[in-house]
């Protein structure tokens, strides 16, 4: 029954979405809150999947909606609002992560300089950690495609719309991402690939 109620609510929202967008453009905060309530959980999920950091994901969710509300009058309805919002999310995450990664790289350099005399002790790499690291290390375009498709369950069509690329490009990126994972996880092949 609960899922029926959720589905009914979602349908009601979809029917009202154009009206809500028009009201937000006219400055109606209540309509904006309604749009936000409907879309924020998925935006947050995507931001968290891509950043792995709750605080960052929150900041990026906020930034996404601030940008989206500021630009909503330019939304022409050519794609679903969620597609458009996720495009904004990816842009926000991408910009922010570039800064975060530069900062982390500097921190790592500093840590390495401080511990240069200590011999590195290789711990037994946990398989799950290895997978996590392998995904983290994927170039952004492949990681985004893999996360959206294999982790969050977007279709190729949805990803192509969000990223503004052809579906074929999207499939090819996914293929490269999976191949890279396979290669990086090959030491665990017996355990994982069965």
């Amino acid at each position: 029954m609960k899922s029926l109620a959720v589905a009914f609510k979602a349908k009601q929202y979809v029917n009202r979405e154009p009206e809500l967008i028009a009201r937000v453009v006219a400055g109606d905060r209540l309509a904006a809150r309604e749009l936000y309530d409907a879309q924020a959980p998925r935006v947050f999920r995507l931001a968290f999947r891509l950043t792995g950091d709750e605080d960052l994901a929150r900041e990026m969710t906020q930034e996404t909606f601030v940008r989206a509300f500021a630009q909503l009058d330019r939304f022409r309805g050519e794609s679903a609002l969620s597609t458009w919002l996720h495009r904004v999310t990816l842009s926000v995450v991408s910009n922010a992560m570039r800064k975060v990664n530069r900062f982390r790289a500097r921190e790592t350099d500093l840590d390495e300089a401080l511990t240069i005399s200590a011999p590195a002790r290789e711990a037994d790499p946990d398989l799950k950690d290895s997978l996590q690291r392998a995904i983290d290390e994927l170039p952004e375009i492949y990681r985004t495609t893999l996360v959206m498709h294999d982790v969050e369950g977007y279709t190729h069509e949805e990803i192509a719309n969000v990223l503004g690329v052809a579906e074929g490009t999207c499939k090819s990126r996914l293929s490269v991402a999976r191949a890279t994972l396979r290669e990086k996880l090959s030491p665990f092949a017996k355990e994982w690939m069965t």
């Binding site: 906020q62 909606f65 996360v147 499939k171």
Partner: protein, 229 residues
Amino acid sequence: MTNNDEHTPELAPAVRDAVRDYNTPPEMKPADLDAMWTAIEARSFRSDIGGRVTDRDSAVRDLTRRWFAPRTMLQIAATLVIGVAIGRYAIPAPNALPATSVSRRMMLDTLALPEPYYSTTTRYFGQAAALLVALPAEARAGRADSRLTGRAHDLLLTTRLLLDSPAADDARIRGLLEDLELVFAQVARLQSGAPQGNSELELIRQAMDQRDVLPRLRSAVVDISAGDE
């Protein structure tokens, strides 16, 4: 998961399952959503259309910050009892005519509204005062019911219409309408029966008191009536 194309070889089932656990997001609670919304709301809605910043929007934003600054809450609480008492019992008495007359004379030329706006504004102020007078009792009872939020929403829409009408040409009326817009916006988005809604209701009531909204509202009603004479 949609892995339906032969050009994209699947991952091994165990890996595929493990991939789904990549950066598993925490569950979003309503309080988390509210907290994020507060930040978004503060940064957005500084424009009437499309994100353009206006003086009015900046003022409203500043006002919100000032109103809900935690350090002012204790001061407000201290003045609250006196404020509410004055607000409730200072009904204009027949023998208070001298002060009212001065006030009326001063306002005659500035608050004389054109007829279509006069009746709308007068009716609106009456309804606004009724809701705001009821607010302390609702807050004391810990009640933020849908009737209250529904009325606030209706009044919010009227406030915005009035802000864009000649009724808001007068600086005092405009200032009052902007304050009322904030109050109604806050009340309208309260969740019925939610505990945080009750504490928010109390904050709204305190902020309203700090800004002398109710006395200014009463004064505006008197002044508009005088302008019509």
